[in-house]
Amino acid sequence: MQIIHIFTELGTGLRRNVSMTLSLVVTTFVSLALVGFGLLVNEQAEATEEYFNGRSTLLVLLCSETSSGGTCVNGEVTREQREAVEAALEENPQVDSYTYETAEEQYEKAGELQNQTAAGRRAYEAAEPANFSAVYTVIPFDPNQVDGISEQLAGMSGIENLVNVADQLGLLYEFLDLLQFAALVIAAFLAVTSVLLVSNTIRLTAYARRKEIGIMRLVGASSWHIQLPFVLESMLATVLAGLLAVGSLAAMVELGVNRGLKQAFGDLTVWIGWSDAVFAGTLTMALAVVLGAIPPLVLTRKYLDV
């Protein structure tokens, strides 16, 4: 009986507040979609960082079999040259750590990047490990010291090229950071609006139902029995908003990343995929449930005196 009664109350509440509930759905949907978007941007930044071993790294590309001229007059880097480079890194007090990857490993890693697009895949299939350089990935103590380390290594034989990752990806990181910040700030404002809308709905409903609620309290209805229709009403709205937000995240990944960014800038970085969307979507849904449950629990206590 209780359950039927609670759902009858829920139905009455939804009919009474249909426009308020719709506005709650829309506001919460936009807010949650932005939170999800912020999470995706964060995932993207992390994926990029992971691929390049951090934001401020120096890639020391050693001469490969196909290199020639300049510091690579001897063709592929020799063992002595490599030891000299390693010794220079060991001695440099600005170097925090470094890792070494062979040309073979670099070839494997490039596959991750290239295989994101059809064109990249074709190019990758034509390539072979010999086209790749062995690489030292150098992480400095201070991000500003990359140039200093670079200057020290410049001109050493056996080094084909020195790449400051920040030069290449700095703009991308800045863009991602700005995007994430903007999304989260707007989402926070909208989340506050959602809470205010829930609060407004509860106040109006509590006023419209003050007689029923008064009788319920008087005859000894438990607090949860009085609160539950309010909580369910708001949760229904936010969960619906959450589902719409998850849908929009899926659209962002499919249309924005898979068909957009990946095609246009396929070899810039490793782009996020469905597993990241599932992660962001799960967090977004969890937030939807929390946003739907907590404010009414607190506010009904305030407005209904239960």
Binding site: Q2, E212, I215, S223
Partner: protein
């Protein structure tokens, strides 16, 4: 059943307390009139029993429990043992007579089968058999108060609190309601009724507790509204 131990209740910063050092004990099955002028503390007295308010000092016991120390989640349990009726009936206008009574049972989680048997029984008890499907607006004042009474006693409470139940009714109708309250009292329910109705109090000859400015100035068994020697 109900015991007030040195109970004082002040609201906000007002100088004079609404109730002042009240000591009262009401036994199970008693019928008690609470009389006194407006503002004498009658409503506060009833609110304290329902734990709608907390005493400033002193202790209130209902059914053996010190209710001012009751955890708030246990308050609904207390209120299920107390039926309440008011001067203004407080019926839900969009529900029928039967639905109004059933509502009180639904919201405390009574099974549907129980509600189906209890509602007609209770309406029969208050003399409203055959009017289950009427809306409150289709009933007279006396009948509406009977619905309110049916709602209050449907859960078989140990205590019935009536706050001026005849305040809106004509004398003849009031007698009918009083007979009903007397009948409910005879089933063992403790009845506590606040009233201004001199005629009823004088006629019923029940225990009278009189309040004036928050003090109990008289507690008389088989009393009348005013002093009688």
């Amino acid at each position: 059943m109900i015991r007030f131990e040195n109970v004082t209740k002040s609201y906000g910063s007002t100088k004079r307390p609404a109730l002042h050092a009240v000591d009262v004990e009401v036994d199970k099955g008693e019928f008690v009139f609470l009389v006194g002028a407006s503002g004498s503390g009658k409503s506060t007295f009833l609110r304290l029993i329902l734990r709608e308010a907390q005493p400033t000092t002193g202790r209130v016991f209902v059914a053996g429990k010190e209710i001012n120390r009751l955890a708030s989640w246990k308050v609904p349990g207390l209120r299920r043992q107390i039926g309440t009726v008011f001067q203004d009936f407080r019926l839900l206008p969009n529900k029928t007579v039967a639905e109004n009574v059933a509502f009180a049972l639904q919201v405390i989680g009574k099974p549907r089968a129980t509600i189906r048997t209890v509602v007609p029984e209770t309406l029969d008890l208050v003399g409203l058999a055959g009017k289950e499907d009427r809306m409150p607006e289709q009933l007279s004042g006396g009948e509406q108060q009977r619905v309110a009474l049916a709602r209050a006693v449907a859960n078989r409470p140990m205590i019935l609190i009536a706050d001026e139940p005849t305040g809106n009714l004509d004398p003849t109708t009031s007698v009918g309601i009083m007979k009903l309250l007397d009948r409910i009292n005879r089933t063992g329910t403790t009845v506590m009724m606040a009233t201004h109705d001199v005629g009823i109090v004088d006629q019923m000859r029940k225990r009278v507790i009189e309040l004036a400015n928050g003090d109990v100035i008289r507690d008389q068994s088989r009393g009348a509204y005013g002093y009688q020697i």
